[in-house]
């Protein structure tokens, strides 16, 4: 959501109030959509049209009226003030909002008794235009009449709030009357006006209603926002037992950690259930049976850290909660969590701290004996904790580590580390290695030595380990070979050779990953092919040798994947596009995918592999006298065809203005390469052999280009328009000072917004290429709604969900099963409103996935038999999970509920392998590179993650797994083949992103809305598959 100008400051009093003149004319807001928690049917009047107010308050136009005040509260405390506590000042956003309300009130005073702003003639226009900040030119009532700015401040508000100025101008030009409904708008309030007015702590004299209080008191604004997102029972208890005024200081904690609170039968539901109640009573100092006191103490305890702990545990499934809430463990882990810094506050920052806590709880693996799983063994971890660290907490834990005798103690240490705001502690090692090891069979567990080796090298190579999570088949030896080669490359003294070697090495690994993921490398050959790909890179002494290694390693890989080592570049594209399809339609789609990749390499103007390898082989044959020099000249000439884009800046200007981001040494070196000279001039065989080394930069770029092309995000432009994007990829950290330590990690995006810098490019490895490319390309997608934004916290992940998965090996039955699960889930919900027993079963399952407020709304809709209204607000992943879990728990019952359930039962019994959960999860899940540290696809079935500080904002997006399930259902119901998903999903995802109109990035309903709108338009034929294909080709 684009907020108007959060940058400028003016310290003014900001006071809003409703207009008495419009109060009686106010229309009733449509609040039937969703009852606000704790609603008392009270309303407040907002002057002017609601849509104008929402524009000025940076609230999505698509929200329901009852969401307006909560979102106003949210935007006021997030965007309305700068500074902290006493130094707080209103931002330009708030100042403009205030000015707008004043203007709206003035316009309201000009309306008739029906709330209509009428301008019958030029004379009547004058007062209206004065308020709007415009004047008429040259004369009123003529064809040449137009409006121009008279008072810029007012005119700005007029435009920004969406006043229909063109219509007024048109009416004045034609001498026609202008009418505009300018009624105030009523929106529901939580509690009552009076109660909020009483809650104000600052000067109350100018407060007229709840809006005044929200806008002038950010703590109250935050409290309003927080309370509106709670389970309504909790809201009522807090109001009654604690009161609004006493809650205001706890608003931040409540905002961050209150959404999981639930009260049932007069008792707070605590993580771990009834068995854990006494432990919670001890920790909190109040009984869950006394909800008011319990919650108040919980919020206030330990500066919010106990609430943070409670919140994280509440987000786990009950089975996971049980592990952590064993009485002794619950207390010990909390003590460990709290210890590192008892003076810090848990809710001071804008985003939640300690993302590692929820991540650790979510991903901890347990052994059969109830102990936490330890990758390697405890001894290995004692060594790991002895490694030098900048963090005192780590050093202190390291001292104690030698006394550890149980995995429990290691887990406690990990809980302590969740408080450290760093990605470089043993916690990250533990999380990563747990993922690497967790997917392995018992026989293939990592050895303690490998665990220690990986831990020692984690700071440099951690992002490279994602591939070991994705392919647990890779054994200790394969891992060891990779690290040996990578470290050997690091030691190449010549930085040009090093950069080329690192690029070729990683590009080959990337291609291997694609072939392995697509099933083109048989499982039995994964280790051998991996080792033959990476091992030769351990001994690179010259460019010529690197060329040979690169060529041979690629050919080895191609041989495993296709049966043939010598393939043309077109055939390599063909192979990368996916396994050949027997169905003609599917095969045509596969060719489209290959063509899209070819278009990227064309856009990058890269030399083809055929030319590079042809020259390499030709030089060797020339050295042996088997071919004539002239036969090589055309290919050698092709190396010189690339031209830099026509420069706009002089070299001096670049140096001065690019901030050191412009560095195209690699490309310039390529452009100076002239093999024709060597070929034409007298040469020795050794010189010709050595000349093959000059092909290395070209080989690197083309291999890297294949990786870029494979992960092209939908709507990509830079890949097609900036021919330096691939060439500028800096693998060795040559272009930026201080990045040498990060070169094996996910690439950084450099040069964004630097016109003289030659365009954005990547510095670092290819490890997270799909995500980084999505970051590069996301802003080429144009939002459909005025004021909407491309959300950087969410969109790259959504694009990754569409670019990494391929659907070549998916069967019709599988696709149909995805649709049936979702429909069966809806059938279950519909049936549950008439069946109390079924309702209990359904709710019991969904309580593990839904946040309490959504769950409460579902409960209410079941009780009031209004499920049809709530169904569109339930995510596809929820209905999918409901059906799957219900079938698991009650195998015979789902068929009785409806036709989709019956059909699901039928195909499940007929094709058990295809409808198997694991297979559906693998084929229709999404990658979780932060959560599960892998690009493996998986349905994780988690509650939505909240937003955290820093990198962990990606956790939020990774917890969304509805899109591909929904697209699959759409495809199935519209008769598309599974292979069509390879075309449909990227394009539907792009269109969904265009439609997202969210107020904030935790606005999941906005994402769901965009998803459904896209699906609706697709069903209505507003865009077709053919058109989408054509559109995606127009780069």
């Amino acid at each position: 959501m684009k907020s108007p100008l959060p940058v400028l400051l003016v310290a003014v009093a900001v006071l809003l109030s409703s207009s008495p003149a419009t109060a009686d004319a106010a229309r009733g807001a449509d609040s039937s959509d969703q009852a606000l928690p704790g609603s008392s049917n009270a309303v407040v009047n907002i002057p002017g049209p609601l849509r104008s107010f929402m524009r000025m308050a940076a609230i999505s136009q698509k929200v329901a009226p009852d969401e307006v005040l909560p979102l106003l509260g949210r935007n006021v405390f997030i965007e309305g003030y700068e500074g902290y506590q006493s130094s707080r000042r209103p931002t330009e956003f708030l100042i403009l909002l205030h000015r707008y309300v004043q203007q709206a009130r003035e316009l309201s005073n000009l309306t008739d008794r029906h709330g209509i702003l009428r301008v019958a003639n030029c004379e009547q226009a004058k007062p209206v235009l004065r308020v709007l900040g415009y004047r008429l030119r040259p004369d009123c009532g003529k064809e040449s009449t137009y409006l121009e700015t008279a008072q810029p401040e007012r005119a700005f508000l007029t435009i920004d709030s969406g006043f229909p100025l063109p219509q007024l101008e048109q009416a004045l030009r034609g001498g026609k009357p202008f009418e505009y409904e300018y009624r105030g708008s009523q929106v529901p309030i939580l509690f009552s006006d009076r109660e909020w007015l009483a809650s104000a702590t600052l000067d109350r004299s100018n407060n007229k209603d709840v809006i005044d209080v929200i806008v002038t008191e950010p703590d109250v604004a935050r409290l309003y926002w927080a309370l509106s997102r709670l389970d309504p029972d909790v809201t009522q208890v807090l109001k009654k037992s604690v009161g609004i005024r006493k809650l205001a200081p706890l608003a931040a904690v409540l905002d961050f950690y209150g959404t999981q609170f639930r009260i049932e039968s007069g008792q707070v539901l605590v993580p771990g259930g009834s068995e854990a109640e006494s432990s919670w009573k001890d920790l909190v100092g109040a009984s869950p049976a006394d909800p008011g006191e319990f919650l108040e103490r919980l919020l206030a305890k330990d500066r919010g850290w106990l609430a943070a702990y409670f919140d994280a545990l509440s987000r786990l499934k009950m089975s996971e909660q049980k592990h952590f809430t064993e009485p002794q463990r619950l207390r010990r882990l909390y003590a460990a969590f709290r210890a590192p810094d008892t003076s810090a506050e848990a809710a001071r920052a804008v985003f939640r701290p300690a993302p590692g806590l929820l991540l650790l709880m979510t991903r901890t693996q347990w052994q059969a004996d109830g102990q936490p799983y330890v990758p390697g063994n405890l001894s290995a971890w004692k060594q790991i904790f002895r490694q030098p660290s900048d963090a005192k907490v780590v050093r202190d834990l390291g001292k104690r580590a030698s006394h550890w005798s149980t995995p429990e103690q290691l887990l406690e240490a990990m809980f302590a580390l969740t408080r450290i705001d760093s990605r470089d502690t043993p916690l990250q090692t533990y999380l990563l290695l747990s993922e690497v090891d967790g997917g392995r069979s018992r026989q293939q567990r990592l050895s303690p030595d490998t665990v220690q080796m990986l831990a020692r090298k984690i700071a440099r190579f951690s992002d490279q380990y994602l591939i070991f999570c994705e392919f647990p088949e890779l054994n200790d030896l394969s891992i060891s070979h990779f690290l040996t080669s990578a470290e050997a490359l690091d030691k190449i003294p010549d930085h040009v050779l090093r950069g080329n070697a690192m690029g070729i090495f990683q590009a080959q690994v990337g291609i291997w990953q694609i072939f392995a993921r697509q099933g083109q490398i048989p499982a039995a050959k994964l280790n051998d092919s991996w080792q033959s790909t990476v091992r030769p890179f351990a001994r690179i002494g010259s460019a010529a040798q690197l060329f040979d290694v690169g060529q041979n390693s690629l050919r080895e890989m191609l041989k495993v994947a296709s049966g043939r080592a010598h393939l043309s570049q077109d055939q390599v594209f063909d192979l990368l596009a996916g396994p050949r399809q027997t169905d003609a339609e599917a095969e045509r789609i596969r060719q489209e995918v290959a063509d899209r990749m070819r278009a990227v390499l064309d856009g990058q103007r890269l030399v083809s592999l055929d030319t590079v390898f042809g020259l390499g082989d030709g030089l060797e044959e020339l050295a042996r006298g088997k071919v004539s020099a002239n036969s090589l000249l055309p290919a050698a000439g092709e190396l010189r065809e690339f031209e830099m884009p026509r420069p706009i800046f002089t070299p001096g200007e670049r140096t001065e203005w690019s901030g050191a981001t412009y560095n195209n040494n690699h490309t310039e070196l390529q452009m100076r390469t002239d093999l024709t000279r060597i070929i034409k001039s007298p040469h020795s065989a050794a010189q010709l052999q050595e000349a093959r080394g000059q092909l290395v930069p070209f080989l690197r770029d083309t291999l890297v280009g294949l990786n870029y092309a494979y992960y092209e995000p939908p709507g990509a432009q830079a890949l097609h328009s900036n021919p330096l994007l691939v060439r500028s990829h800096d693998f060795a950290g040559d272009t930026l000072a201080g990045v040498e330590k990060r070169v094996w990690l996910a690439a950084d995006l450099v040069g964004e917004g630097s016109p003289a810098g030659g365009g954005a490019h990547l510095v670092g490895s290819l490890a997270e290429l799909p995500y980084v490319l999505a970051e590069v390309e996301q802003d080429f997608i144009s939002p459909e709604s005025v004021q909407a934004l491309i959300w950087r916290e969410l969109v790259p992940e959504f694009l990754v969900d569409a670019t990494v998965p391929r659907w070549w090996n998916v069967s019709r039955n599988e696709l149909h099963a995805i649709a049936l699960h979702q429909r069966a889930g809806e059938e279950l919900l519909s049936a549950a409103q008439n069946d109390a027993d079924l309702a209990n079963k359904v709710l019991s399952i969904l309580s593990q996935r839904m946040i309490p407020l959504a769950f409460e709304r579902l409960q209410e809709s079941l009780a009031t038999k209004r499920v049809e209204e709530i169904l569109p607000k339930i995510t596809p992943a929820d209905t999918f999970y409901l059906a799957a879990e219900f079938r698991r728990q009650h195998p015979q019952a789902v068929a009785a509920v409806g036709p989709a359930g019956q059909e699901l039962d039928k195909i499940s019994s007929q094709y058990p392998d295809e409808v198997d959960w694991k297979r559906l999860s693998r084929d229709f899940g999404v990658p979780h590179p932060i959560l599960a540290q892998s690009y493996r696809r998986e349905l994780l079935n988690l509650k939505p993650f909240p937003a955290f500080q820093g990198y962990s904002s990606r956790l939020l997006a990774e917890s969304w797994d509805s899109s591909n399930l929904y697209w699959a259902r759409l495809a199935d119901e519209m008769g598309y083949s599974p292979a069509s998903l390879n075309r449909l999903v990227p394009e539907l995802t792009r269109r969904m992103v265009e439609k997202i109109f969210a107020t904030e990035f935790e606005d999941w309903p906005a994402i769901l809305r965009a998803l459904q709108e896209t699906g609706r338009e697709f069903r209505q034929g507003k865009f077709s598959s053919v058109e989408m294909t054509a559109a995606s080709s127009q780069h």
């Binding site: 100008l5 137009y146 700015t149 063109p166 064309d602 103007r605 900036n722 080429f780 077709s1024 294909t1029």
Partner: protein
């Protein structure tokens, strides 16, 4: 969302049959297939005082591409209908030359009804790109006034599109002949956020390149770019290669910012457009008037490139023949890069679903 392919329909420029010809045959599968459209040039001819020189005839222009002389295929001056040139020898007589001082045009713009002015640019497809980033905050409404006036004055022009940008592009009004729709879009823009001028200009050039006929892009920006992924060079090249002049109007503040002013001046010059740095909002209006003036006096020339083995940048030179014309100045794009076109929409078209829902 509107179907972008609707924009491909012909809009009165039927003479500009954009049949594609292959400039260099595909030698084998490993080579990029280079496809070259008929090359269109918008050429401004001015005297030493900056007055437009009118009345020139086709045979008085010589076009070379990489030094290879080209044959004119079509010719038009200002708002005249485009002529397909079958035989230039038909009219060898020198024509009386005229010159129109910009001042006179300006006076006309200032006083005459828009209909007269609009006729000057009949047939143009004008894409307006408006900066709504934080950098534009102060002059936001005045800029809107200037754009609205510009749009109003384009009555007879073929179509106008209005886009706005900050970090992302908003296609507020797709190409349309409905002025009120465009002005409505101008008046509904929202200010705020980062500025990604070159990203969004790239998208605008790509949209414009899908349209047949004469097209120009007018950018109204305060200059700085802090969010683009592509550099201005790539955008300028694409505009040159697709024959789209870019005009840029900015403020004096942007003039002070050397990076933006350098790009604005050089990019517009390379594409055959012009950059204006307005002191105040009145100057902004004058800049728009000057663009209208320019559009009304451009010669439109086109040619099919002669055989040329160059698959890289091709330099275009336009000059006037004869002693009496040597003194005049020519402004047009200075070259283009043939676009690779291995992957086309046609090759990707596929049938609908296997079965109905």
């Amino acid at each position: 969302m509107r179907n972008r392919w609707v924009q491909l329909s012909f809009v009165g420029w039927s003479v500009f049959f954009l049949s594609m010809i292959c400039a260099s045959a595909q030698k084998d599968e490993s080579h990029i297939h280079v496809v070259v459209d008929m090359v269109q040039l918008n050429v401004a001819v001015t005297d030493n005082n900056g007055n437009y020189v009118t009345g020139l005839r086709p045979q008085e222009f010589v076009i070379t591409e990489d030094g290879i002389q080209q044959k004119l295929a079509t010719f038009a001056e200002g708002n005249e209908p485009t002529r397909r040139l079958l035989n230039l020898a038909d009219s060898n007589d020198p024509a009386p030359l005229g010159s129109v001082p910009p001042a006179a045009t300006k006076s006309l713009l200032a006083n005459d009804p828009p209909a007269t002015l609009g006729s000057l640019v009949a047939g143009a497809n004008v894409f307006i790109l408006f900066d709504t980033s934080n950098y534009m905050y102060r002059g936001f409404v005045f800029a809107q006034d200037a754009i609205a006036e510009f749009v109003r004055s384009l009555d007879a022009a073929d179509k106008v599109a209005f886009y706005s940008y900050s970090r992302d592009l908003s296609r507020s009004a797709r190409l349309t002949s409905d002025r009120s729709q465009v002005i409505g879009a101008v008046r509904t823009t929202v200010a705020g956020d980062d500025a990604a001028l070159y990203n969004t200009l790239l998208l605008t050039v790509k949209d414009a390149s899908q349209i047949s006929g004469r097209k120009v892009i007018v950018v109204f920006s305060n200059g700085p770019d802090n969010a683009s992924m592509v550099p201005p060079e790539d955008v300028a090249e694409l505009a040159q290669s697709t024959g789209i002049p870019v005009y840029m109007i900015s403020t004096r503040e942007a003039k002070i910012e050397p990076i933006s002013s350098t790009v604005f001046e050089r990019m517009t010059a390379a594409t055959g457009g012009k950059a204006y740095f307005a002191k105040n909002w009145k100057d902004e209006k004058r800049a728009f008037a000057s663009i209208r003036d320019d559009l009304g006096h451009l010669y439109s020339l086109s040619y099919y490139p002669q055989a040329n083995p160059n698959r890289g940048w091709r330099t275009i030179q336009v000059r006037l023949v004869g002693e009496r014309l040597k003194k005049y100045h020519i402004r047009t794009r200075n070259g283009y890069r043939p676009l690779p076109a291995r992957f086309t929409a046609e090759s990707a078209a596929v049938p609908a679903p296997e079965s109905g829902p």
